[in-house]
Every structure is written in C-alpha cells, then in structure tokens.
C-alpha cells in the first residue's frame, strides 16, 4: 500500500510540472524607458480587449533594446523594440548582419526632454550653452582651440543669472535613447555656438562629436539608470539636483516637479509640438517583420497601437503625455504599419 501511495504522489508531481517545448504565445517588447509608459498602456488595453496574451514589456533603454532586437530572428529574441530616438545606421546594419532584414519603423509621436527639479526649488532659466558648459567633460578655454577639464562646480559660474547652487544632474546612461537625444540636441546645440568648435564639424567629425557629446564623469552628472520614476523620487529628496527625462514624466507629475525653461521656451505641450522648445525628439518603435506572422497577436497589437483611439489627437496616449503626430503624418504612419513597409536608411 505504501508503495502505491508513493507511486501516485510521484506521478502527480510530474504531471504538475509539464515542461513542453511549445512556441511563445506572447509578444515580447524591449527598449526605451521613455516609450515604456506608452507601450505598457497599449499592452494592457490590448490584453484586456482581445483574447491574446498581454505583451511582456521590459525597460532596457533604447540602446540595450536595439542590441537585443538585432541579435537575430529567433523565437528567443524580442519582437518589438521601443526607441526614444531613430535607429542608427550602425544598428540597422547590425540587424541586417544578423539576419533581421525586415524591420518596420513606426513613428508614434513626439516627446520633449526636460530638465526638471523639485517644484519648491529654484527656477532655472537655461540656455543650451549653459547645459553644455555645465555638463561637458572638457569645456573651451580662454583661447580658440583650447580645451580644459570642466572646472565649474556651481551653476552661477556657468552663467551669472543662474542660482548659486551646486551642479548635480541626474540623467540617463548611454543605453538610453534620451541620453543620445539630449547630447545631440541640448549639448551639441550649446557647443555649436563656439565658432571654432563648429568649424571642426567639417574638418574632424570625430573630434567634434567627442567635444560636444562627452559628459563629465567627476560626479556632477550622475547616471541614474533607466528608471525615470526613480529620478523623480530622488529629485523630491534632493531639491538642489536637476533631472533629465522625457516630457511625459513631467506631465504626469506636475504636482511634484517643474521643468526649466530652455532657450526661453517653457516645456509645454504647445511649445514642444510647435518646435519652439528646442529639445524635442520623435518616439518610435521597431517591429521584426518576420515575427508578425509567427507570434500570435502581433497584427492586432500593431493595429491597436496605431489606432486613432491610441495615437490620435484625442487618444489615450495623449492623456499620458505623448505629443501626437499631425493629421497627414499620422495617416502615413498608419498606412506604412498596415503594409509593413520595410525600413531603408
């Protein structure tokens, strides 16, 4: 009798752990932490309103996501990569090299990059030149062509109109698309104002990039990971610090943080949409064409994301802080997504 009991117990345990090599039946999304809030909202609605499984979404940073995405076409690679900047030529090349030849680009909207701080703290009225001088690793010296290690420790040393506060900026690491966009739009924007640096753009592009994009490493700029919500929390606890993140996070937390003016424009919906606010960039996600037929629900998910309900002017993504595309552009994006137009750079 005892033996029989043991046998039944054994078999029932084995039945509980049935590991079958079945295919993946959920969509796997990786990438930007800026697009993450939008992606998760669409995923949740999608899961609730269709019979497909809710997509699994990881926030790895745009760069990290691209690397995973372009690793190959296999079932164990992600289906969609969110990006807070356009895919680089080198990344698309990596995709092609690894066999991912069908990549569909979907432009979902615009987003501003804000430099924000705690709502009760000082007001900052910055220019892009200020940002460059405060955050670059090497800044221009007295003479043209000379570079010195960044000596500025307080904001009023960079620009006498700014508060006498220690420079402490929490920002994204190099895996983040926000970082790429920030160095290209804000820092490069300020660095170009030096004539001699602007001249090097033509003569020595690599040096130009290294001057304008390298961020200081002496502790004034703190790489705060991919979690923008965490940055907001840290700003509340540290009123002298500034944080760099996407406009949607500012929009959703207006009672906790406020955005600084940049080049005279305040970070608001209208100014970003019109282009008046200089640090704004488009948001994308990229889809593996090969997976659309294989993973259940892909078409429906793409349909939901690009629908008027979601991405449109009155869509629920706008409620979350996304700045929507104009009418014409939206129609084009919808059409390209439906036909799975392959990306050529």
């Amino acid at each position: 009798m005892k033996a029989l009991k043991k046998i039944t117990l054994l078999v029932s345990i084995m039945a509980a752990i049935q590991v079958q090599a079945a295919g993946r039946d959920y969509i796997s999304v990786v990438g930007s932490s800026t697009v993450y809030p939008f992606s998760t909202v669409v995923a949740e609605r999608f899961g609730k309103s269709t019979q497909f499984k809710t997509p699994k979404i990881e926030s790895t940073g745009t760069g990290g996501g691209m690397k995973l995405f372009c690793k190959g076409n296999g079932v164990d690679t992600p289906d969609i990569s969110n990006a807070s900047r356009r895919i680089k030529a080198s990344e698309l090349q990596m995709c092609h090299d690894n066999g991912v030849t069908g990549v569909v680009e979907v432009l979902i909207g615009y987003d501003g990059i804000v430099v924000a701080n705690d709502i009760n703290s000082h007001d900052f009225n910055l220019t892009r030149k200020d940002l460059f001088l405060a955050l670059a690793k090497d800044v221009p010296g007295e003479a043209d062509g000379e570079l010195v290690a960044n000596p500025y420790t307080h904001w009023n040393q960079v620009n006498a109109d700014l508060p006498a506060v220690k420079i402490e900026v929490l920002g994204p690491p190099p895996t983040s698309g926000t970082r790429d966009a920030f160095v290209e739009l804000a820092m490069e924007g300020g660095c170009k104002e030096y004539e001699w640096i602007k001249a090097t753009k033509k003569s020595n592009k690599d040096q130009y990039k290294s001057i304008c994009h390298t961020v200081r490493e002496d502790g004034a700029y703190v790489e705060a990971g991919e979690n923008d919500n965490l940055i907001i929390q840290k700003l509340q606890k540290n009123p002298d610090a500034l944080g760099i993140f996407g406009f949607s996070f500012l929009d959703q937390n207006t009672d906790l943080v406020k955005g600084s003016m940049v080049d005279g424009a305040a970070p608001e919906f209208e100014t970003i949409a019109s282009g008046e606010y200089p640090v704004s960039r488009p948001l994308y996600f990229y889809v593996k064409k090969a997976h659309v037929a294989e993973i259940p629900g892909m078409e429906a998910f793409l349909n939901e994301f690009t629908s008027e309900k979601a991405m449109g002017e009155e869509g629920y993504l706008t409620d979350k802080g996304l700045i929507p595309l104009g009418e014409e552009l939206y129609k084009e994006v919808r059409e390209n997504t439906k036909t799975l137009k392959n990306l050529e750079l």
């Binding site: 049935q18 995923a43 499984k53 906790l256």
Partner: protein, 424 residues
C-alpha cells in the same frame, strides 16, 4: 583604612555601574523591538488606504447606437463595442456645462481606465441589459481615489495639488449628490499588475511566488534531506566528505546575488531557459535554500539519541533500516521546521530573481511554471519606484501581504517544533 572599608566605599559605585549595565542591556533589546514596531506601524499605516476603493455611481444608458452594436447581440460584437463612449456620455450628462476639449479630457479622467471593461463584462454576462438605463458603480480613477482618501490634500493651494480646482469641484459635486461610495478593494487580490494604480493587484505576483516556491520545494527538499542523511549517517571520514561539508557551510553564507549571477550565466545564457519563468527562479532559489535545509536536517538527525539507533541495530536491523525506520521519523519535525524556514527565506528573496529577468511588466496571471511572471518581493520593488500616490499605498499593502505569509509560515514552523519536540 583597612581593606574592608575600602571595599565598602567603592560598593556604591560598583552597584551603580551594575544597574547602568543592566539597563543598557534592557535598552538594547527595547531599541531593537521599538524599531521593529516602528517599521511595522509605518508600513501598516501607509497600507491601510489601499484596501478600500472609491467608486462613482452613474446612470448609464446602454444605447445600442452609441455602442455600435447591431441587432445580433453576439458576444463578439459586444466585446468590440465602444463602452468608453457611453461612459463619457454619462459623465457629460452629469456636467453638461463642460465644452472645451481640454476640460472634457479632464472630465473623462474621473473614472478609471478599467471602467469600460467593467461595463463590458457586465453586458457580456447579461446581453438583455442593452437598451436599458442602469445605475452602475464605476471604479474611480486613482486621482479621485486619492482625494477622497485624503492623500491629496484638497485644502492646499492649487499649484501644489495634482488635482486642479475644476476637477475638485466636480468631485465635490458628485460627493454632495451621494454618487461617491467606497468599498473593499477586491481588485487588489483579483488583478495582476497594471499601469493604473486603482487597477493594480497582486494576484499575478502571488501565483508567481507560489509556482516558484513549488519548484523550489520540489527540488530542494528531497535533495537536501538525502544529502543530510548521507552526511550524518553514512559518510566515511575522508577528505572528500570534509570538502563537501565545507562547501555546504560556505554556500549557506554566500550572498544571494551571487546565485543570481550563477542563474544568469548558466541557466539563461548557457541552457537558454525562458527568462522570467518561475521554473528558472525556482531552480536558483532551491540552490540557495539547499544548504539551509541540509544544515537544519543535520542538526535534527544529530539530535536523535544514539540509544534509538543502537536499539534498532541491536534488534537486528541494518544501518539503512535503522535510519529510515527510526531515526528519520524521529528527526522529521526538525527537518520540517528547517524546510519551512528555508521556504520562508526563499519567499522573501529578491536579488537573484532580479538578475534572471523577473522584472518585466507582466499583467497576465501565470498559469504554469513556464509562463512569465514576477514574485511578490519583486512586485514591491517595481511599485516602489512609481511616484503615483496610489502605488505608494499599494506597495505598502503588498508588503503587508508578504509579511503575513512569512509570519504564517514561521508560526507554523514554530508550532510544529513545539508540538513534536521530544525531550530525549
């Protein structure tokens, strides 16, 4: 002065020192316990609001035209119908003065995103409701919820408040009309993770923890007990066995994050097992709890007096028979206690699971050990970063649930220990 007087003089001081020392000891214990109480009350007070949910009662006219439902009333059609629209219509009917686009958006945000799915499920269950007008309690959005609970102070100046004056006016009007009710928050226990605080629940995390612990138990218990029996009863005294023992003792004190590195390098990278699955998490955790259970089992086996073994041997049993028929049953309470404590430790582990990818946003409740899922401590970790007030209380509530499970498991272990403790 002779020695006795000298001693008598110093006696006062020495007794004082004695009292101070004794009080210090008592104070230390008091400090530790006080901290524990402080921690628990702080988290409990933050968690209390999470268990209630604000609802808004609105009259809904289920107009088939507005919904876009044809005459057939099939389930698919109802599933695709636009319930958001009828809810919006109901809100506009309450506040007909709202006209501007921006204002309308604010108005629509009074109800939760899940409200339309609530309505849809209800109509799908009972399609006869179409065409009728009903009073339905909808989940309120987390901002409204926060105002009602007082987490957002309505008496602050507008700039400092997340909810602006106009929205506040609407909420107060609804309150005056008696349309705002609060009830127990069943969503917290019935839903998985969500982006909206009012809809977020821990069921997904609890099922994930359950599956992970199941795998851990199934793997670690038999192996650990077998190893303990071998080491205590059968192992010869040679260097190989010494080496095994040293290994086990060291593994017990290795930081948990190193096990996470092992899981990442070997199981995910080398064996290509699915990321975020309780299976891999369970394997990593079982490697971690193995030393704990082995050590506990060994002491339990060691505590069985030799007289029991010798009696069995004296009656003609073999070594194996004496172990399995007499020593093991006698040591079983201690072994079980050790196992339960090991499982409780595994339940609270976060770091190794972070490394193997159980940090994704997963809404569906896992149905098996290979479905992607997250566990309770990681859910706490994920929610702790969200700035919405709603998530703050949900995080605290999730911690309370976690602590509840842990206390229950430890209590069972202690109870078993007390009940089966035999004084040899």
């Amino acid at each position: 002065m002779n020695n006795t007087d000298l001693v008598k003089k110093s006696l006062g001081k020495r007794y004082l020192k004695e009292r101070i020392f004794r009080t210090l000891g008592l104070l230390s214990i008091a400090t530790a316990i006080l901290f524990l109480v402080f921690l628990l009350t702080d988290i409990a007070s933050k968690a209390m609001p999470a268990f209630s949910q604000t609802k808004i009662t609105l009259p809904i006219y289920l107009d088939t035209d507005e919904l876009g439902v044809g005459a057939s009333n099939s389930v698919e059609e109802i599933g695709q119908a636009d319930f958001r629209r009828v809810i919006r219509d109901a809100l506009l009917a309450e506040f007909p003065e709202v006209s501007k686009r921006q204002e309308k958006r604010e108005l629509y945000s009074l109800t939760s995103m899940g409200a339309e799915f609530q309505l849809r499920d209800r109509v799908m269950d009972n399609p006869d409701l179409l065409g009728q007008t009903l009073e339905i309690d909808f989940m309120a959005d987390d901002d409204v919820d926060a105002v009602i609970k007082g987490s957002i102070d309505r008496y602050l100046p507008e700039n400092d408040r997340r909810v602006k004056d106009q929205k506040l006016d609407w909420i107060e009007q609804l309150e005056a009309e008696g349309r705002i009710t609060t009830g127990f928050n069943w969503n917290f226990f019935a839903n998985g993770d969500s982006r909206e605080p009012e809809m977020a629940g821990i069921k997904g995390a609890i099922m994930g923890s359950l599956f992970t612990l199941l795998v851990t138990l199934a793997l670690s218990f038999p192996v650990a007990v077998a190893a303990a029996i071998y080491l205590e009863e059968f192992a010869p005294k040679n260097r190989f066995i010494d080496f095994i023992e040293i290994n086990i003792n060291n593994l017990a004190a290795v930081p948990s994050i190193v096990f996470g590195l092992l899981g990442l390098a070997v199981f995910i990278n080398f064996f290509n097992m699915p990321r975020s699955a309780p299976l891999v998490g369970g394997i990593v955790l079982s490697l971690m709890t193995l030393p704990t259970i082995i050590i506990a089992s060994r002491s339990a086996i060691k505590a069985v007096p030799p007289s029991l073994r010798e009696a069995a041997l004296g009656l003609g049993a073999s070594k194996m028979q004496s172990v399995f028929h007499h020593v093991l049953p006698a040591a079983l309470p201690g072994i079980l206690t050790g196992t339960i404590i090991g499982m409780a430790q595994a339940l609270g582990e976060t770091a190794p699971l972070l490394m193997i990818g159980m940090v994704a946003f997963i809404v569906d409740i896992p149905q098996s050990v290979v479905d992607p899922s997250t566990v309770l401590p990681i859910q706490v970790f994920l929610w702790a970063d969200s700035p919405e007030r709603g998530f703050l209380e949900k995080t605290s509530a999730a911690i309370m649930v976690l602590l509840f499970f842990l206390i229950a498991m430890n209590a069972i272990a202690i109870y078993l220990r007390k009940k089966f403790e035999k004084k040899w």
